[in-house]
Amino acid sequence: MSATELGIVEISLTVNGIPVQRAVEPRTLLVDFLREDLNLTGTKVSCELQVCGVCTVLVDDRPVSACTFLAVDADGSAVRTVEGLAEDGAPNPLQEAFITHHALQCGFCTPGFLMMSTALLESRDDIDRDDIVEHLDGNICRCTGYEPIIDAVAEVAAARPPCLGRTNGNTNGSATGDSKANAIGSSIRNSTGNGDRS
């Protein structure tokens, strides 16, 4: 069946805190919606089978493989991508740890590792090395040999004051949300009239 026969669905969600409304084909994958409709190309695709973790984004704080997640299933949710991590345009502590530990080389898997690690760091306190290894076992990296990535996440977990989970979990309305608007770009800032959906 060709695409045009399948109809179009309206979806509303927030992406990195910014409200977005769009009409999409039902078969549109979340990753294609982010990369092609919203021009958020920071999220990458590799295996397309939900096993490499490259396309990981957070949907309502839960990590999902955007390559096998329909955009229509993100309707009404808060989506976060790598573009939303920076703080005032500069790397956040996790991103900074990836740089100083050389936890990336080609960088293609990095957005997925950052989002997966963010989900872990926000989920609870008292994270040890085994937790990190287990949590990141679904993300593939072909450059680093993983140890620098585990070191980077462990450093952030150790340095973090307790009970800091979800500081980035606010989906909109805050000063943080405003700074993220720049990351998304004018195409979606202009696309919708009003605001808060939380």
Binding site: S2, A3, E48, H102, Y146, I150
Partner: protein, 778 residues
């Protein structure tokens, strides 16, 4: 020679850093900042205005005549613009291949492997192209096929290619191999054959105290660079522009110019950030497909492959290696005899050179007085094989090193001692007439063995293995660079070397910062644009630090010479009264002029630019081949679970003999990455043909190392003796620590289970079978 102390992990600085301002330090890589922010632009992110999308229709037979291609149903899909087949290319040169131009852009007359491109659907959207590709109906008449090299070599085997092809004028290929100049593949399935040798091998075997014979199989692999091949191409009146994932944009340009009969100057190939390469993105891949599609439809066309399609585009040569070695009673090597058969798939691509390098590297960096090596690269009806990190060394060294370990066991000497007795000493030749070894392998080996023993566990079913390899690296020494000094004294470096993640962009900036005596924040590096950057032959063979580094250093030197001359003119003094100081030129009475001031004053009008040019060819320091030897020294310790055969990696130890570490952290990162890829082949990875097609052309069934596979103890050591021809005594890195891993793991597991394996990967089932004295499985 003094023994270098093992470096601490995550070394911040080279042991020679104090002699320099910028190089030798683990500087912050600027590209990593863009990459963590998600703002780095990769090839797959690139678009062109008015761009269409392509989807490839692929063969569903291993070997079959194409009877008909029916495109009507596909063309009826809304948004479909064209279905391109081989017939549309008859006014072009429809093939590519830099050694043998045997690779048809689109299958012509027949298909030679399952997955071969048969047609290209071009449509307004990716979805429309994908929908329509399923509707292209290709009818076939099956032909008998050959999947394994054995089948392809058997008498009367069906031919993958019924013709020979005029060799492509990659003029340097002949110089890189010792193959017979007049050799042409005859009407067999042998794509290429290489033999080397010296001495009287048969006599040496006849007189030997001990002869050890073994046969090893190296698995068929997929490099899995995480960004699959993609390209966007635009063909117009001005020529052809392509943005792609290629490691060697200048080599791809050659193929594209030949296809369209265009001057090189009218083909522009650019490469932005790419998601890994590991050799698998060297030479031409999808660029001709996107380019001919654009040529047909007259609009830009983007083609992005899936991982499955990428596996059916390029894989790694699997190999069977038979080795016999002769020893005297003291354990000295008297002779070695290798026979190598590589399954190279349906098209030659770079396999002839991979084979030639395997032949050069299989017998190891040892004193071998009598040698015979015969290698054959064989066409089969399988996915085409080409370059992969290590370039023939992992295949050959698996056989060579485990054979040496078996000899040590039989002679009753240690596996370290048999190597100490036979390793070439500094400056000794491995290949007659070539550069002698520029490394101290015995000291490096001692570092690795000492580290492994210090971490030894007394667990049951525990084994330690290690290996030493040396690769004739650097490829052919042709490199150029330009530096442009701006009116504010900042510097743009132009290089044709590709940033693939290995860190060349940062490294070349570091060298330029050192040479000019300015901060790295004053330097930007522009790479891999055949119309906008300097020429570089390839980005492979671990050459960038050594050769691109040298050309950048020479370009800086050239620019500084020009700046001195200009300053002398401005000061109206003889040239011998001016000299270099960091960031400036010093003149009479200790006057200083910074670079920006010199440029502005010399040109007048506060404008202008000074360009320095650096050239590297087979002359001077880089006259002798190879430009440098890349050594591999890796040790592992394994613990085997006797109930399941599961292998736990207890230790991973590497020693990179790099001469001088310009960015030590980046060298360590490359070493751990290379060794981890080697562990994949040793323990997990293997593409399996089940009939005409792969049983596991996906990342679910083709398992690569994961975070849970990291060794319990990792020791990454650097040996820095400033003995390389590169800048500041540096040599290349990045492949060496992959090469010995297969042999080291096989050797460690043999120790742990008491039986020698004959093939990789050593999956739990295979290890369990070894432990229980069962056949290894197949």
């Amino acid at each position: 020679m003094s023994i270098d102390l093992p470096a601490a992990p995550h070394q911040a600085a080279s042991r020679h850093a104090d002699e320099h301002q910028t190089v030798g330090r683990s500087v912050r890589r600027r590209d990593l900042v863009e990459k963590v922010l998600g703002t780095a632009q990769y090839a797959v992110d690139m678009t062109m205005p008015g761009m269409l999308h392509a989807k490839v229709v692929r063969a569903e037979r291993a070997h079959a005549r194409i009877v008909d291609i029916a495109a009507d149903n596909a063309m009826a899909v809304p948004g479909v613009v064209a279905v391109v087949t081989a017939e549309d290319l008859d006014t072009l040169f429809p093939r590519f291949g830099h050694i043998i131009s045997d690779h048809f852009i689109l299958a012509t007359g027949k298909v030679r492997y399952f997955g071969e491109p048969v047609a290209i659907v071009v449509a307004e959207t990716r979805a429309a192209a994908a929908d329509a590709a399923d509707l292209v109906e290709v009818s076939y008449e099956d032909l008998p096929s050959v999947i394994s090299a054995d089948e392809a070599l058997s008498p009367g085997a069906p031919l993958v290619h019924e013709t020979t092809y005029a060799p492509t004028a990659d003029a340097t290929f002949k110089e890189l191999t010792d193959s017979d100049d007049d050799e042409q593949p005859g009407l067999t399935n042998i794509a290429h054959e290489v033999t080397i040798g010296w001495g009287d091998v048969d006599a040496a075997f006849a007189d030997a105290h001990l002869v050890v014979e073994s046969a090893l199989r190296y698995p068929m692999l997929y490099a899995y660079a995480m960004e699959p091949y993609n390209a966007v191409a635009s063909y117009g009146d001005d020529g052809l522009t392509v943005i792609t994932t290629a490691q060697h944009p200048f080599m791809v340009r050659d193929d594209l110019a030949r296809i369209f009969n265009l001057p090189l100057s009218r083909v522009r190939v650019t490469v932005p950030y790419i998601g890994g390469g590991y050799g698998s993105k060297s030479y031409t891949k999808v660029e001709p497909l996107a380019s001919v599609a654009s040529w047909v439809v007259g609009r830009p066309v983007k083609l992005t492959l899936s991982v499955e399609e990428a596996i059916y585009t390029t894989r790694v040569d699997d190999a069977v290696i038979n080795v016999r070695s002769a020893f005297d009673a003291d354990g000295r090597i008297l002779a070695r005899d290798f026979d190598i058969t590589m399954n190279s798939g349906a098209y030659a691509d770079n396999s002839p050179l991979v084979l030639a390098k395997c032949v050069n590297r299989c017998f190891g960096p040892y004193r071998v007085p009598n040698l015979r090596v015969r290698g054959r690269s064989v066409y089969t009806n399988t996915s085409p094989a080409s370059s992969y990190r290590g370039f023939g060394a992992p295949q050959g060294n698996l056989a060579g090193e485990t054979n040496l370990d078996q000899a040590a066991d039989k002679l009753g000497i240690s596996r370290a001692d048999i190597r100490r007795k036979n390793l070439v000493r500094f400056g000794e030749e491995i290949l007659p007439g070539n550069r002698g070894i520029d490394a101290d392998l015995i000291t490096d080996l001692d570092m690795v063995v000492e580290s492994l023993e210090s971490g030894r566990s007394d667990a049951a079913h525990y084994g330690i293995g290690f290996g030493v390899t040396a690769s004739d690296a650097g490829a052919y020494p042709i490199s150029t660079a330009q530096v442009r000094v701006e009116t504010d004294g900042s510097v743009i470096v132009l290089s044709g070397s590709t940033e693939m993640g290995q860190g060349s962009r940062s490294l070349l900036a570091q060298i330029a910062a050192e040479e000019f005596g300015i901060g790295m924040d004053r330097i930007s590096v522009v790479q891999s644009d055949t119309a906008g950057s300097a020429y570089e032959r390839t980005t492979g063979a671990s050459r960038t630090t050594t050769l691109a580094g040298l050309s950048v250093q020479r370009a800086c030197d050239d620019a500084r010479q020009k700046l001195r001359a200009m300053a002398a003119e401005l000061w109206n003094c003889p040239q011998d009264e001016v000299g270099d100081v960091p960031g400036a030129v010093r003149g009479p009475h200790d006057q200083r002029l910074d670079f920006g001031t010199i440029v502005r004053k010399w040109f007048g009008g506060s404008a202008g630019e000074v360009t320095g040019i650096g050239l590297v060819r087979r002359e001077g320091a880089t006259k002798e081949m190879p430009p440098f030897w890349e050594t591999g020294l890796v040790g592992v310790a394994v613990e085997v679970d006797p109930d399941t055969g599961y292998v736990t990696l207890d230790q991973l130890v590497t020693c990179a003999d790099v001469g001088f570490a310009i960015n030590p952290q980046a060298v360590e990162a490359q070493d751990l990455g290379a060794a981890t890829q080697g562990l994949g082949a040793a323990l997990f990875e293997e593409l399996v043909y089940d009939g005409p097609q792969l049983a596991n052309a996906n990342v679910v069934d083709y398992r690569v190392p994961r975070a849970g596979d990291v060794a319990r103890r990792i020791d990454l050591m650097l040996a820095e003796r400033r003995d390389g021809v590169g800048p500041y005594g540096a040599k290349g890195a990045g492949e060496g620590q992959l090469n010995p891993v297969g042999g080291a793991v096989a050797s460690a597991i043999a120790q742990a289970v008491g039986r020698w394996p004959t093939r990789l990967p050593l999956t739990p089932e295979r290890v369990w079978r070894l432990l229980n004295n069962l056949p290894e499985s197949d």
